[in-house]
Structure formats: structure tokens, C-alpha cells
Point group: C2
Chain length 713, copies 2
């Protein structure tokens, strides 16, 4: 600690004297870089004159190396450049994304070791990205990381929205506290999970969202996590300095590297407007451009699923109640069915009918395949084969039935975290999908990883998740990876990665509930790295009505559930509830049917992490907009302007809002629906219930008859 | 230790009173079984009234279980049966093998835990096999082994032929010592290896060969090692009790089991004649019958190889001297070749020519594929792709050239122990073989296993080796696995597993030499589990003549090298030296050309572990025999009778023997060749040099002219 203070002091002294500087295109951000007296690289970041990152050290600690990669450096050649390009994503929040930064690449020579590294900085108007580069050279080829020593020295005891650092799960509720309070709150924050592994009383995950007392919003994450261990942040809570804490492998080592190689980008998104954090494209911009040549088969998906009824324990994934099975031996054909298997032909057809009637393109079916009897908690190696259906699930028949109604079945590959087994079956499993009309798969990794000793976020599994996505692309298959490492923008390079869960999703409302402010934080944290398959759209909050033995409650109003289709950006959106619950509220369900899933434009109208978010999005290829607001447990009154609409046009706005007496806990299903005419001059004041929100579809009026009789906003 | 003594004493008391007994068919072996006062199963084994295994405990220690599986048992139902069947192996030492045993299956009930296990004993005339069985039942499904607690209590301080217990290698020289001396010799015994992991100062590997002071030969091993961790033996050297020591996984656990399941068989082969140990078929008989329906594509192979010149460092596996490569990026086409790459078109064609001229059916080529520049010692994940040749190796052209001469190229899959990488490429690699005319592969696992933390002999890798063999069978490919777990008779079930190295092979003669008695021990140890690709046939013992920088010496006479083709049984036999070294001794080479590799009958004429072995084998489908003798560093004078020949027939025996002044170190290439006529009345006294031996081809004389002018023995 003392050494740290001295180092920082020295760095402060040196930095100002000999610092390199890089400015963002608009000049608001200033990066400082220097090498201190011990030869340690030091960087700092200011925003409009305020410190965002105080002088912080960089470097790595590696095994079996006399010098390490943290000290003993001298500044070598420095190359600066500017980049300004606009590119089009295959799907996304915007039709076009501008990638504009000033770059500084600093060569650092370690003369004693006769080798060098490069640290590359890219400064955007909304933040910084930097990474380590290990060029090909005689004296640096193979090395093993003991720890990456990247620091992020905070300028104060910021407010933070955090989940406990963990090598195996992100499925924790968020905590809102000062940095200094993390330690005291950690134990309670670590709620039980199928697979978890915390590492520090002050360790947290990224993306980490913070707000300083002087109104700066600061977000820390990483981009382009490839063949490297996932980074967590370990806080020195005396000095408010975060240091990177990589996920170890089975032997405690943190990464096997072969130069030439680069680390992922470490990102600092910063603004004095919270909205800018959500509007930032730094993560995508730091990723490689799309590597898939023909992307015509990649399309956003709106789906339903034979899923919630199992999550609520109303029915089962498994077909029998056998305590254990051996896949190649168990006689399923003659086994006694338990009568609670949800993925049976009749039930699936009912879902297909409903999905087809309501314009959903795919139906996820979980529990379709043999092996669910003992899939969980046994550390079972050969747990699934991914191709053999249960006796009551007719793959071809159901796919054909679905297709006849314009719907497609969505595949499910639960791996039970038995990853060698999944890789052994992967080609056959993907081919089975192709042969049976599937083009998208939800994959899962529930439980402790096999190979045992590895964790969900180490280099080993990071490699696997991308392997699965790349191989899927060869089969023209889209992937939605649950329990995988949280994304870092790789969907730009591999747009068939249409989603991940990798956070606490809607299912937790059935496992005891999530904090009502959960969705006012997720876009500032989990979604910084990529879309989330949050699976919203629950209309029945009292789960004892779905299953009398389930006393959990969905901590949200119904109106807020609608809003999530806008505020939780994803090209993959699920209407997660049971058809019978939608049937009871078809007027509200209309929003889910109408809402787009691909966008030409996005505007964050208002946002405060932990409190409220209002987003408006323009549906791709249309002049229509959709607006959503989600708020915390206190409720909130939104004031929004429709000034993003085209001038001179009229739109029909259908507003789905909390009723005046709505409350996420006591009266969640009280909502109102009203239609009004809006123009770009319109304004709306809308009260949201605690744990509530509102959703608005804004459809261009093409015919004067459409606006007849409607009030104008 | 005290507890052990007390337990044994108690067991002794109880055993005699209430013991179950089982006798071998000929009555010489008696198995005793009892459950002691603590409910611990105890067994013992006597041979002709002498103790082989003194009362020894059985059981397992499992995690997270209140009772464990070692005590608290009561004897339940006992079922006895007899089995007597003769079966034909696809290839082997005998045309037919008799499987004759008396069996006792003891049910052990653990009433407190409301579960049971079964211990099944099979008593053959030459030994015992037993295993644990975990039947399907409600209260025993999934469990994790902390340790198997199988004891083998020796009756005295036997002489043992042992190598250090190790989770990663068997490539140690053998030690001959008393059990009490193991501890003092262990440190010196652990010589360096690319991947090694010893675990106990008195831990040794199986098969373990011993000789008691009263002339009993005792061998401990296991059979049918499937989905279980490899067993080592840890010696209590005060009481001379071995206990099973399973190979741990990355987390130190010793096996994940799902009932119904069985452990491998633990085997005790015993006789008062050393020859009987080598004649035993217990290991094969305890394995499942052949599971491959059509075995017509499985054929023994006599081969040569572009290999020894790299092992002696005369040339290289690698094509360039680049310090490191990335397979998908390195520009091999334009890289500067190092000029020492052995697997180039010209050189390979020379080997093909020689192999074809001399009747060899296959040519192994190592170093044919990209990636050898940095294949070793880097813990490199994506190290080989198994399908991309170096620029100077024309796969189709060379295979075509070979085929035109009646030879086939043999594939090489060095995995560098990067096992996920191998499995990811395996289908493509096997298909590549099929597409390019290969039908057999030598696979290797040099280096520490990836997934890191696993070892070569844990349950994880045991599963992998069999996975590779089973998948190979789907492609009609034969497998010869180097650095794999030592075999346990699985070649009966999967006869496409035509060999393993999995011991210290001939290559070590180039790495400093092996002890001259090495091959007088290997058949008693390593070969108990299955054939070994020992790759004998080195004619130039002074390796500085092959490569001036290599000062190693092959510790064998040339005549003994010939004998090894008989004494080291294998359906896969290599003439391992360089063609130019054979060319200098074509008269001796004739034996290698003549010797068969598949047999109708085998007779061990004389054997003493560590001293000498003489074996005679009858070539399949002929009346010809081949005899080989290998002796230790003292030399030996063999006295053999030819009484196994058919009465009334004459045979031409060509005897390749050490010259009178031969010596493995100082005069290894001094040999004599003489032809004599033999009948079943003939006898031979033949002096063998230190580290020497002799080889004899015994060809039926079908024509009186063949015997003209020859002396009669």
C-alpha cells in the first residue's frame, strides 16, 4: 500500500513534467502518459479538466521471467494518428456507427531484457480504450501471466453500481454504494448460485458504472476479449484504486500468451451526461470489423418459448422422474413418463399456434432432448448428446407444423457446463440443426465447468465460447450464449452472436425476485458489452398463480415489462410468459407484437443509473419510433420531448403506462393505454409507479383518418 | 500404521474362522474372503499353500459421504460360477486363448447407508482378478472417489522390478531391489522427463513384477481401465503392504463415478515359474470381447520410419528454424527452410525404396506437417492442425509413390499433449487419413497435458485415449498411442489399438541409454497390459556415427536387437534404424525381414525377470517358428530344447548370435550367423554376451535339398 502511495506520488511528479498527451477529437478528454523513475508506464485521463483516472500504473506480472513486464521500461517511438470512419452493423441500435478517435501508440523498450511492448491508446469523444501489444521478437515469444497490473485510480469515493467479482457467474443483484462501502456489503451481495467463485472482499465485475460526486459518469469495461482471461476489478478501498484481476485457470495462472499478441482493450467511457454512456459505441468500435462474408442469414428474432413454465416449476424439462440416466442405455421408449414434461408435441403445437397468430418468428423449446433427468449438479461428463429427442417430441413433425404457420423452432443446447462433451458433439449437433430446419440456438453452461478446475471466465472458456460461435457461423447458425462470459463487443466481428445472457435475467424473478431498479442499471453495465437476452414480457407477477408452490414475485409492473423491449436493446427478444397470461391482456400484448427489434436510430432521452432510463428508437426502414422507460423502486415522473420526430409529421402514439395506483409489488397489472397524436413539438409528462415504467409506439400517420378523434400531445 | 497392524491381525483372526473360499480350477490358488469386525472387506490369496496376498482390506473412500465405501458392510448373497471358453483374438501371441476361471461375486450390504456394492473375484489357474461393482440403486448413484483403498499385503520383503509412481510418464529405467530398498533408491530413480509428476517416496507403477525369497513370482496390474483413473501402488514399507493410489484430477479428486458402474479389474498373476507370468492371458481374458464387427481392415504392420534420424538429432522434425509459428499465419511457402528437415520428398522416397525392397508394408514419417518449429515445451494450445503438410512433403505424391511399390505411408499425430486441440481436429484428421490412403496412425502426447492441471493417467485422459481409438475404428484406422496410459488389455475389445509405447522405449538409447537388462524386465511389466511399440532393430550402437554431436550408446548387442522382435511381442514392429545402417549388415537384417508379426502359438522356453528371457513363437498359418533371447548385463548361457517342434519334421534354423567376444558396450556388432538342421529332439546351448542375446528363424524344410550340407543340432 505504501509502495503504491509512493509510486503514485512519484508518478504525479513525473507525469506533469514529461507526459505525453493525447486529446479526444473534441478536446474534452486528455490522456496523459509517462514512464516513471522505475520505468513503470503511467497513464491518466481528464475530462473537461476534471480527473477521471488519476495517474495509474500499467504492466503485467509474468511467470519465470527475471524482469517482468511492469517496470524497467523506457519510452521508445511514439506514433500518433487519427481515424474517422463510419460503418454499418448487420443489426444494431443505429444504422450507421461512427468510429472517430485519436490514437497514440507508445513503444516501451526494456533494454535489460532486450525486448519491447507497445501500449496503444485510442481517445474517442466519449472515452478511452487502451491495450497492450506484444510484437513478434526474439526475446518475447511465450509467456504466462501471473497477473495483469492495470490500475484505474479513481479520483474519489464514487458511487458505484456493482456485482461481486466472480469467476463463474454474473447473476447477482446489483448493489448501489460508495466504493468505500463495497467491503462491508460484499458478503450479503454474494447470494447463492449453481456455480460461483468469488475472489476478494472488494473485487467487482465489469462493466462497472460509477458516478462521481461532481457529476462525472465513469464506466470501466473491456472490449474484444479473445484468447485471454476475463478481467475483474479489485479495489484498494483506501486509495480507491482498481487493479485488473484476471480470471485464473485450473492451476491459478492467468493466461498463456504467444507473441505476436494483443490484450483486450480496457475501456473508460466518461461523460457528464449519463445518456452519453448509453449512447457510446466505444466497445463495438474497438472490435474488429465483421469477419463473416455473407451475413444474409443473420436476422433479428422475436420469439416465444416453452421455458417459463419450467422456470416457474409448473412443469419439467425432464420426461421421466428417473434419478439418473445413462444416455446410451436408458430405455426412454419404454420408460414411464412423469406427465409433467413440457416439451411434448401437443403443448408445443399450442405454443406454435399462439406464436404464429401473434407474429413471432421462432419458438424456443427447452427440454426437447434426452438427458434432463440428471442434468444438474452431478458434474456429469456425458450429460447430453444434443440430437436425440424425448419420445414425445417429434422434431421433424413439429418443425414442419411450425413452418406451415410461418414459425421456426429454436434449438436449445444446455451443456451443463460439460464442455468437452459439447465440443465432441458440436459438429453433429449443428448439422442436426441444419438438417431439421433450425437456424438459431440458445446455449447454456449451467454448473461448474468440466474440465474441472476451470471456470466460466478463464482463458480456456473464453476460447471455447468463440470457438462455438465461429463454428456456428460455418453452419449459418445464430448463437445466444447463456452463462457465457459477459460480452465485449465481439458481435461486431461475429454478428451471428446475436445474444448472451451472462447477467441476472428475468428467470430470477421466479427464483425470489430481483431488485426493482435492476433494469435501470443493466444498460449501464451488462449491455455495455453487447445485447442481452433478458427475456422480458412477464404479465403475471404473482407466480403462485402460475404454480401454487412458487411464492416468488416479479418485481415489475406490467407496463415496465413492455418498456424493456426498448430499454434492453437486443436483436433477440422473447415474449417470455405463458400464452394464457398474454391472452388475458391482449391490449397490452399489442406493444410486444408491434415493437421492432432492429433499429436505424437510438436516442437516450433521459437516464440516471439506478433511477430511470428513457430510450427512443427508430424502427429500421420505417419512420416509426418506440419509446420505453424503466424506473426504480421509488417511481419517477418522466418528462420527455418528442423533438427527435420529423418536423411537419404527425404520429399516432400509443402510450402503455402504469395506472395511477400501480405498484410493482401490490398492484403490478394496473396499466392504462391511450392513443394520442404527437409531433416533434409534443411533450409528455408521465408518472411511473415504483418498479414501473411506460412504453410508447409512435407510428407515422400516413392517412388523416388515423388521427381522427385523437387528442394531441 | 498401528491401526493397519491391528486391522490385519483382526482380519487374520476372523478370516480363518468365517472366510469364504474360492479355488482356481486346478486347485493351486485359494482365495479367502471375509468381512471383518468393522465391516471392512478382506481378501487373501494363497498359492500351493504359500501366502501370496496376506489378508488385505478392500474398499473406497469417497467425498461428501457419511459412511464411505470401506467399512460398515455385511456379507450378503454370494454367487459362484465357473466359466470356460476359448476365443480367437484378431491378432496375438496365440491363435486361440482359453478363458477358464472360477468366479465368486460377493454382495456387501451397508445397512446404515441402505446401499450395497459387489466385489467380484475371478480365480484362474495363473492368478486372480477382482473388481468393485456399483449396481444401480437409489442410494448410490453419483459419487466422487477420494481414494481407492485396495490393499495388496505382501508376505515378505520381495525382490521387485519397479519404476517410480508418476502421473505423467512411465519412461523410467527399471530398478531391481527389495521392497525395503525402494525408498532409498527413489530419488535417483526419478530421472528427468518432458512431463513427470511423482507422488510418493515409495510409490510405484503397475504392472509390478516381484519374486519372493521362496521362489514365487507375483505380478500386480489392472485390466480393463475404462473411465477410471489409472492405479499406482503406494508401499507401506514397514509392513510391505501396497495400497492402490489412483491418479488425481486437476483438483486432486480421483474419479467421478455414476452407478451402475464397475472399477477396472485388479490382477494378481502368480506362479512358481516365471515363464507362467509371461504365458498368462488373465489381462485379455478380463476384458470385454471384441466390439468391432468387421475387423478385416485390422492387420499387423511391419514398418520403417523417417524417425531415428530425428531422434538422434541428425536431422529435424521442423522445416524452418523459426523460433515460433502461428499455424494460420506463418508463411511456410516463402519461409527459409533449415535444410535439415528429414520429412522431405527426396528423403522419404529413399526410405520408401528401401522399405519396399525389403518387404516392409508401411513407412512412418514424422515431421511431415506444419507446426514443429515450436511444438515442445511451450504449453501451446493450437500447436498442430494434423492436415497441413510442410511445403516439401507431397502427401498424395508420396503415398502414390509408396503404393506403387507396395508400401503405405503411416500417419503421425503428435499432439504435444494439447488434447482439446487434438479432439477439435480429430474428425478432420482421420478423414484426411482416409482421403490420402493412410490406415494407421502413431499418436503422441509429449509434454504436460492441456487442459492444464490434468495428467496423462487421470480419468480425464484415460477417457480421451479410448475416445480416440473408438473414433478411429469408425474410420477403419489403427492406432499406436505413445505417451498414453499403459495398456490394460483393451486391445481385446478394440483390436484397432495395435500398440502403445507408454514405457521407456528404444529412443532412450539415444537419450543416454537404457540399462542393459531393460528388455529382460519389460515383458514382465509393461507388456502384461498389451503390446509395446518398442521400435527395436538398431544396428549402429555408437550414435556419434549417426550424428557426431550425439555421444549416446545403444546398450545392446546387434544380435539381441534381432531377438527383440520375438521377445517384445507386438503386432506392430518397426525396423527403427536408418537404411544405411541396415545396408551394412544385410545378413543380420535378414532376420528382421523374415520374422513374423502374428502368431499361432507362443512358448516361453526360459525366463527370469531381470536376467534372461527366451521365447519361441509359431508364425501364423505356417509351421515356422522364431526364437529370441535377451539377457542382462552379465550375459547368460541359454540351454533350450526344440521339443515344441512337430515330431518327424526337419527345420532349417538360422541362428543369429553374439560372437564370443561380443559385448553391448565395447563390441556390440560382433555377431555370427549359422544355419543348422533341427528337429524336435534338438537342443542348443548358446552363450549370450553381456546385454546380448540371439535370434533364430526355424523354417520347416519342405525339400530335402534345403538341408543338404547343413550340420544337425
Amino acid at each position: 500500500m505504501n509502495r503504491l502511495i509512493i509510486s503514485i506520488a512519484l508518478a504525479l511528479v513525473c507525469t506533469m513534467t514529461h507526459a505525453q498527451q493525447l486529446k479526444s477529437p473534441d478536446g474534452n478528454l486528455t490522456l496523459g502518459f509517462e514512464v516513471d523513475a522505475e520505468g513503470s508506464p503511467v497513464y491518466s485521463l481528464d475530462y473537461k479538466g476534471k480527473a477521471v483516472i488519476k495517474p495509474s500504473h500499467l504492466g503485467l506480472d509474468i511467470f519465470d521471467d527475471q524482469y517482468g513486464l511492469a517496470k524497467g521500461f523506457e519510452k521508445g517511438a511514439i506514433e500518433t494518428s487519427t481515424f474517422d470512419e463510419t460503418w454499418e452493423p448487420v443489426w444494431g441500435e443505429w444504422k450507421q456507427i461512427r468510429n472517430h478517435y485519436n490514437e497514440m501508440a507508445v513503444r516501451l523498450d526494456q533494454s535489460k531484457a532486450n525486448r519491447h511492448i507497445i501500449i496503444r491508446f485510442r481517445l474517442f469523444n466519449d472515452g478511452l480504450g487502451f491495450r497492450y501489444e506484444f510484437p513478434e521478437q526474439p526475446n518475447l515469444t511465450y509467456f504466462v501471466i501471473r497477473e495483469e497490473l492495470t490500475q484505474f485510480a479513481m479520483a474519489g469515493d464514487h458511487k458505484a453500481f456493482w456485482i461481486p467479482g466472480d469467476f463463474d457467474t454474473q447473476e447477482y443483484d446489483y448493489n448501489e454504494s460508495k466504493l468505500s462501502e463495497i467491503r462491508g456489503l460484499m458478503q450479503k451481495a454474494i447470494t447463492p448460485n449453481a456455480s460461483q467463485h468469488s475472489f476478494s472482499p472488494t473485487g467487482v465485475q465489469t462493466a462497472l458504472m460509477m458516478k462521481s460526486s461532481d457529476g462525472l459518469y465513469i464506466n470501466l469495461h473491456e472490449a474484444a476479449l479473445v484468447d485471454y482471461a476475463c478481467m475483474h476489478l479489485n479495489l484498494d478501498d483506501r486509495n480507491f484504486v482498481f487493479q485488473s484481476f484476471l480470471t485464473p485457470d485450473a492451476q491459478g495462472k492467468k493466461g498463456y500468451i504467444q507473441a505476436p499478441s494483443t490484450s483486450p482493450w480496457r475501456t473508460v467511457i466518461v461523460s457528464d451526461k449519463a445518456e452519453d454512456i448509453l449512447m457510446s459505441n466505444i466497445t463495438l468500435n474497438l472490435n474488429e470489423p465483421c469477419k463473416i462474408e455473407d451475413t444474409s442469414w443473420i436476422k433479428p428474432v422475436k420469439y416465444m418459448g416453452v421455458w417459463w413454465e419450467m422456470i416457474t416449476n409448473k412443469s419439467t424439462w425432464s420426461y421421466t422422474d428417473a434419478p439418473a440416466v445413462k444416455l446410451d442405455e436408458f430405455d426412454y421408449a419404454n420408460a414411464k413418463p412423469n406427465g409433467t414434461h413440457a416439451a411434448n408435441n401437443d403443448n408445443v403445437r399450442k405454443y406454435i399456434d399462439f406464436a404464429a397468430e401473434n407474429g413471432f418468428s421462432q419458438l424456443l423449446v427447452e427440454g426437447w432432448n434426452v438427458g434432463w433427468e440428471d442434468w444438474f449438479g452431478k458434474s456429469k461428463d456425458y450429460v447430453f448428446d444434443f440430437v436425440t429427442p424425448y419420445p414425445d417430441f417429434d422434431v421433424k413433425g413439429l418443425q414442419s407444423y411450425a413452418n406451415s404457420k410461418g414459425v421456426r423452432l429454436m434449438m436449445h443446447h444446455e451443456t451443463s457446463a460439460s464442455v468437452r462433451n459439447y465440443e465432441r458433439h458440436m459438429d453433429e449437433a449443428y448439422q442436426f440443426m441444419v438438417d431439421n430446419g433450425y437456424n438459431s440456438v440458445k446455449s447454456g453452461y449451467v454448473g461448474d465447468i468440466i474440465p474441472r478446475g476451470e471456470t466460466h471466465y478463464g482463458q480456456w472458456m473464453v476460447n471455447h465460447y468463440l470457438y462455438a460461435v465461429k463454428k456456428a457461423a460455418q453452419y449459418k447458425i445464430m448463437v445466444n450464449g447463456h452463462e457465457a462470459v459477459r460480452p465485449t463487443g465481439l458481435c461486431r466481428t461475429y454478428p451471428n452472436l446475436i445474444g448472451n445472457e451472462s447477467a441476472r435475467g428475468t428467470e430470477y424473478e421466479s427464483f425470489g425476485g430481483s431488485k426493482p431498479f435492476h433494469t435501470t442499471i443493466l444498460p449501464f453495465t451488462r449491455l455495455i458489452g453487447g445485447p442481452m437476452d433478458y427475456t422480458p414480457g412477464i404479465f403475471e407477477m404473482d407466480l403462485s398463480k402460475v404454480n401454487p408452490d412458487n411464492d416468488s414475485h416479479v418485481n415489475s409492473t406490467l407496463a415496465r415489462q413492455l418498456a424493456l423491449y426498448v430499454t434492453m436493446y437486443s436483436p433477440l427478444q422473447m415474449a417470455a410468459d405463458l400464452p394464457e397470461n398474454y391472452s388475458r391482456f391482449m391490449d397490452a400484448f399489442q406493444f410486444i407484437k408491434d415493437v421492432a427489434i432492429d433499429w436505424d436510430d437510438t436516442k437516450v432521452l433521459a437516464a440516471e443509473p439506478g433511477d430511470y432510463i428513457t430510450i427512443a428508437r427508430k424502427a429500421k426502414g420505417t419512420n416509426n419510433w418506440f419509446i420505453g422507460t424503466t424506473v426504480d423502486e421509488n417511481g419517477y415522473t418522466s418528462n420527455i420531448k418528442f423533438d427527435f420526430l420529423d418536423a411537419g409529421k404527425k404520429y399516432i402514439a400509443t402510450i402503455y403506462a402504469d395506472a395511477a395506483d400501480a405498484h410493482y409489488k401490490t398492484n403490478p397489472q394496473a396499466y392504462t393505454i391511450r392513443k394520442v397524436v404527437v409531433t416533434n413539438k409534443s411533450k409528455l409528462t408521465q408518472k411511473c409507479a415504483p418498479g414501473g415504467g411506460f412504453a410508447i409506439s409512435v407510428i407515422e400517420a400516413t392517412d388523416i383518418n388515423q388521427t381522427k378523434g385523437l387528442a394531441k400531445l
